[in-house]
Amino acid sequence: MSDLPILGATERPSAWKMLRAMVGIGLLCGLFIVAVYQTTLPAIERNKAEALQRAIFQVLPDAKSSMTFRLDGNGRFALLIDGEAEDRLVYAGYDHERELIGLAVEARGMGYQDVITVIYGYSFAADAIVGIRVLASKETPGLGDRIETDETFLKNFEKLDVTLAEDRSAPANPIEAVKHGRKEHPWQVDGITGATISSVAIADILRDSSAFWVPRIRARLDDFRQEEAP
């Protein structure tokens, strides 16, 4: 963007012309962007909500409706209000009789290639993780990405035990990955041969996330019941 020496430098336009061009065009561009933004905003919000609902219902199979809660500074869960920071969220799932059946939580962790983002469903009745869905991953196609498609692997998550220990401060048995075929306990994850690191990554993500959320959720179950489900 360096200016080459211009022949006929007497041609230099007034500062006004330059200002007029930049500011004028700048304003027009700005207005155009804002207009498009406002027009597309409803559609985008709708898409996001639908995608979230789909993910929640996939990991909490019996849920018919859901509400979003946020963990506040006092360890209580409150309905998410517009404008609040969207961190430390959990999604409560209710069946058609508005009974609370479980919670869906997002979790992230380092995989083989890059960060993996998952959402998993925790069911109260089963005291276990009952569903998982990979939201974002960059694992090696054909190898690591089998965490998303391998049926045997996904079966691990139909009832992954996270029962709390006596003191209710953490799951009694932390989730751990084991070599393929060596699964003996309901809190273990049967790994995928050839995709060890990705499988272990998923297990670790779930272990750390459930260790944080399950005790807190169980301690404040009533927070989720008080609100009127839609």
């Binding site: 963007m1 360096s2 561009c29 700005g30 962007i33 933004y37 380092m110 890059d114 690191i197």
Partner: protein, 193 residues
């Protein structure tokens, strides 16, 4: 927002997910400037510097735009900052080392359109890095870019002397080299695990 250690972030940007060889950012200068070793390393240094500055500015801009709820201005502000930084760097190099300025030629102002720099700003915003993580990320990305560029330059300088069919000579050859380099770098995957 993430609890990636600084070392993980750095390794990630430099080797495991190298900006050029894994993310395909900065290809134009990669193919254009990597013919000579010396120019390549100087270019890498210039890019690293611009990355560091833009990264910090991008972090500040993102915080500002979030505060005033104008996310749609993000792209324009980022590119404006990058363009200004490059202009400044250009003037600086011209004053300090006219020889280098001439050597880099058209590629200096072209740093503005280097996808790697804008890509860096966008990635770090999407990942929600805090300020220190941003700086480390930028440093890693710049060094990774330089490594890729220097490796490429070294290889190409050697290849100049080889007997290569005309149809392959030039960009096609450079791309095949890049493909092989990219495969080699895949060996770094799992380093952060």
């Amino acid at each position: 927002m993430t609890d990636d250690s600084l070392w993980t972030i750095f390794l990630n940007a430099t080797l495991i997910n190298n900006f050029v060889l894994a993310y395909f950012l900065g290809i134009c200068p990669f193919l254009g400037v990597s013919a000579k070793l010396e120019t390549a390393s100087r270019m890498g240094a210039a890019v690293t510097f611009v990355m560091l500055v833009s990264s910090s500015c991008a972090y500040a801009i993102h915080k500002l735009l979030t505060a005033i709820d104008a996310p749609y201005l993000q792209l324009i502000s980022f590119i404006a900052v990058i363009a200004s930084t490059v202009q400044l760097v250009e003037m600086f190099i011209k004053k300090v080392s006219p020889a280098l300025f001439r050597a880099l030629g058209i590629f200096l102002p072209l740093i503005t359109t280097n996808c790697a720099i804008l890509g860096l700003a966008l990635f770090q915003t999407n990942k929600g890095y805090n300020f220190v993580q941003c700086i480390v990320y930028a440093l890693g990305a710049g060094i990774g870019f330089t490594i890729a560029l220097v490796l490429m330059a070294g290889l190409r300088e050697k290849l100049e002397l080889a007997q290569v069919p005309d149809v392959v000579r030039g960009t096609a050859l450079a791309l095949m080299l890049a493909g092989l380099l990219s495969m080699a770098f895949m060996g770094f995957a799992g380093l952060g695990g």
